[in-house]
Subunit: 399 residues, 2 copies
């Protein structure tokens, strides 16, 4: 079986409001982060399947004759799936030599690729296709920005597309195209399988953001994509202070147990911040955007950052981020687990590039990584090569 | 009529928790601040009444023959009072030449002195006594630390004592002594009259703290002295950033109106902080004090400081205070109106004097005033001269 070349991309994720509070039954808002992962799927005639992940130094290929052994075990077809095939997973772990113990990033990415490849192509009577998948991501890995989900969403979209399970939505004259709702559901459910392989028990938020883009409301395990949100310019800063999400989550829990009457209202306030923010963003799509909208978004960011400090998930590096950006009139909060990690800074439409550049420089001078990007952009897309940045095309064609 | 020499002192006030929230019906905790005002009442035979207030450059005296004109109008006697005598007040304003317009600090202090002096001595058939009152305060004026109440409490105690309306509790062998509950009630009600002259519509918290000392719970206009509280070492820092309480109170109100669902829980959390703090302090008097008690007090201070920032009453100078003290492992919050003004820093029992001195120096290097003092100490006291610091005795005897 031979397939054509396919280019797809999927965005990362940031938590706009509600991190930690969501663990305690409050609303969180997850938004797409326009730092994207790009995938090229290339049909080959080498009789091999290859995967190139230059971000994590992973370049592997397998002979189709060897992979054939796994094909018959897959019986589910390419419909929506909720559960992993434990037998296939176990046999693949043995095959790639990681039967026991914790997998590193490269091993998890490899296992996920092989699992999804075999699930997409191994179910029918057809032969496995010879192809090479290359992925390059603008996202830092392990920073809580959904880089694994962007990877699995890209994989799901490209492999399902190549297998014919979903259409190839790109018309000849288009630069980018998106799938219909039903096909996005399929992509999302497949990407979620990949997330399960990588994270064990993922919330499903990251792959949903990667698939639908825009903004999602997340409450008590339910994920609701919001119809229309404005695109917001932001700075995304990685303090590079390492942290453990698990430790931070349990720190918040301890504080709630220690001061229940003090902390419960703080979680209620965070919940109200998410709801108020959602309302402001929805107003911004239905009426002319004013400075007042941005003032409200900034105030909500400041309040939530204080609340996150109250929960005990702040960090001096994040205080520095807030202080530096505030000297430029810009408002920041941590995003995700906190205790270091990443922060977002809202840029206003009128914020000039001189201010942005000076702020980025000041943050880099602190040893932070910093990107000017946006939130609320589109989810997974198919690209014509012409719509992919030159340097990314170059990386994807190198292997 | 001739009276003996009397030395009294009364403490200042700090808000430990609940500033601003108290305006919206939540609990606040007011504590005595062991920066005190000291008063010496000296019997003279000059046929004059004098008042010396070196802190505010006020040195005045009046002939008894002139003051006699005001005596008959006072009919209330020296019982508990709730209302000012508007006629006496109007005539005194005319007499000291401030019939109209706003009074400055010196004029308000003078008017209050004359009013309380005439109320204490003018009601009977007795002659007005010849005496000089000198007051020296360790408190900065106009910094929200209850300096006016410390003054009026001292005045009330000394004048009521000199008039015989209350006893002179000091025994010959004692250094300091306090009045009984009933006499304290009288002192407090008279001091409140002085506060009404100075502030127009005072809450009554400041004079209550000056009278009873320790800690008071203040809720919906009701003031409840708490029986036993530990003495806590603190730093009191005056950032000297000027602010308007009125502007700050209305800023909080605006924020509540703008984001009601976000802000209401914050006020609830502040309320819970006051109640939790009260509980911790009460435990500290009934069980052995541990590091855990101090950890809890520190965490509550940090949380409330964040909440006050959320209310919009923070200030960069207060952030600096918090940051500097935190580098020494000490926790601070603003006290009172915020927007500048004063902050308190909790010292732990084990905090060494080297750390304290270094912290004080760092804060002074920022241009702040800083005192090492305590909260929770006694209210108004009568002193034997030997129990008054040498330098204060010297100031009080200079005039």
């Amino acid at each position: 079986m031979q397939v054509g070349d396919i280019y797809v991309s999927a965005p990362g994720k940031a938590i706009l409001h509600g991190e930690h509070a969501v663990v305690h039954g409050k609303v969180a808002l997850a938004v797409s982060l326009n730092l994207r992962s790009y995938l090229r799927l290339e049909a080959t005639s080498t009789g091999t399947v290859g995967v190139n992940l230059p971000n994590i130094d992973t370049f592997l290929h397998w002979n189709l004759s060897e992979l054939k052994q796994f094909a018959p075990s897959v019986t589910g077809g390419t419909g929506q799936v909720k559960l992993l095939d434990p037998d296939l997973l176990r046999r693949l772990r043995e095959y790639v030599g990681v039967a026991n113990g914790n997998l590193n990033t490269s091993q998890m990415a490899t296992l996920t690729f092989l699992y999804l490849y075999l699930s997409a192509f191994g179910s029918g009577a057809r032969e496995l296709p010879s192809l090479t998948v290359s992925v390059w991501s603008e996202l830092p890995t392990g920073a809580g920005l959904g880089s694994s989900a962007a990877y699995t969403v890209c994989l799901a979209a490209a492999l399902l597309c190549a297998s014919g399970a979903i259409s190839s939505p790109l018309k000849e004259w288009e630069h980018t195209a998106r799938w219909c709702q039903e096909e996005l559901e399929l992509i999302n459910s497949w990407a979620f399988q990949g997330e399960m392989i990588i994270h064990g028990n993922p919330s499903g938020v990251d792959n949903a953001v990667g698939t639908w883009g825009g903004m999602l409301r997340f409450l008590a395990g339910k994920i609701i994509p919001l119809s229309r949100v404005p695109l917001l310019r932001i700075l995304l800063t990685n303090t590079k202070v390492p942290r453990s999400t698990k430790v931070l989550v349990s720190r918040v829990k301890d504080k709630i147990n220690k001061f229940p009457s003090v902390m419960a209202p703080v979680l209620d306030s965070v919940d109200a911040i998410s709801c108020t923010c959602e309302k402001v963003l929805s107003e911004m799509t239905s009426e002319p955007i004013t400075g007042e909208h941005y003032n409200a978004l900034e105030e909500l960011i400041d309040i939530n950052q204080h609340h996150l400090n109250v929960m005990g998930v702040g960090h001096p590096a994040l205080d520095t981020l807030c202080r530096i950006t505030l000297t430029k009139g810009l408002h920041s909060k941590l995003t995700g687990a906190g205790g270091g990690g990443c922060g977002i800074t809202l840029l206003r439409p009128e914020t000039g590039s001189a201010v942005v550049q000076a702020t980025v420089q000041d943050l880099k001078d602190c040893g932070f990584d910093c990107w000017e990007t946006s939130i609320g952009g589109p989810g997974v897309q198919q690209h014509a090569p012409v719509s992919v940045k030159e340097e990314i095309l170059e990386v994807l064609s190198r292997y």
